[in-house]
């Protein structure tokens, strides 16, 4: 019996050393800086070397419909097709698009947006959709096709179309969509 008792004590001591993992995980000591550039939010950006125009509109400058109608002749003069994109600074996919287009980090993305007059609208300024102008959506980034007058055609595409946020994925999906007849 003594042997059994000693054995039992030994087993319990061994078991006590085998503690289960706790829920507390080690925290990183610093925040990694994985996004190299800040999102610039200019009211308007000059045309890039490629045949792409990026414009950012503000609700302070009037109704969206009015601003889009005003932009239509400018796009026509440049021979570019008009699109609207809703984005936000906190949106990871929007950041990738910004890096690729505004900061020209991706030739593939610039090529996909060639011939485009892109009007970018920040949801933190404009709200989550502008129904009176014909823009309703549930997620960003989202792109709307406009007609020659600057009105939405009803055709749209959002970030769920291209999977992981690589320049190549975005360009592969957006290029054909932007250039469809």
């Amino acid at each position: 019996m003594k042997k059994i008792a000693v054995l039992l004590i030994g087993v319990f001591l061994l078991a006590c050393t085998c503690s289960a993992p706790t829920l507390t995980l080690p925290r990183p000591t610093s925040t990694p800086s994985i996004l190299p550039d800040r999102i610039e939010s200019p009211v308007s950006t000059p045309p890039l070397e490629s045949n792409l125009t990026l414009v950012r509109l503000s609700p302070r400058d009037g109704s969206l419909t009015g601003q889009l109608h005003a932009a239509a002749p400018q796009a026509a003069a440049l021979g570019q097709r008009m699109f609207v994109e809703f984005d936000a600074e906190w949106c990871p996919s929007c950041k990738v698009i910004t890096l690729g287009l505004e900061q020209q980090k991706s030739e593939a993305l610039l090529a996909a947006f060639d011939g485009v007059y892109l009007i970018r609208l920040d949801v933190d300024e404009w709200g989550w959709g502008v129904p009176e102008a014909g823009f309703e959506f549930e997620g960003i980034p989202v792109f709307f096709r406009l007609d020659e007058n600057g009105d939405p055609t009803g055709d749209w595409i959002d970030g769920s179309a291209w999977g992981p946020d690589t320049y190549e994925n975005i360009a592969r999906v957006m290029g054909p969509w932007l250039h469809q007849p």
Binding site: A15, A20, T31, E89, I140
Partner: protein, 176 residues
Amino acid sequence: MTRLLYPALLLLWLAAACAPLADLQPATAYLLASFTESRVTVEIALEVNQNGQAILAATFIPEDGYHLYSMDLPRGGVEGVGRPTRLELVSGSRLAAAGSLAESVSAVPADGPGGLMVYPEGPVTLRLPVLLPGGEGWFDEQVSVTYMACRGSQCSRPVVGKVVPVRVPGEEEIFP
């Protein structure tokens, strides 16, 4: 006798080795609040584990295909991008934190140039050990939750610092 001894010892060892796991499982749980917003259902509960520790738990259940961001992201995102998943006590609360926030699953880097830390698709529970208000009865309290859900490359509106009313038991209500 000897034939029975070793199986018995094995069972004893397994029982002892698994005992710490019981600390992680709530002995009692009270659902305090639940809501759905921006593609995520959030359930806030008070758990009391086997050691008698009260734990405030928020389970974030995103819709199919959506993921949430690590609780370790800065409040304002990494250089403004992304929003953390958080469960926090509000200022003036009679609940007091008795430990640090813990996550039920580990975050992994997202695909693409951003590479923010995200939780794999599916529910995530954040747990915060708390000290309950003293006394008997139940008390009106508030907690705060923050999250942002994205599916692939499409993101829903972030929920930041949403204050959720809850009713929590006093310490003597739970531990008379």
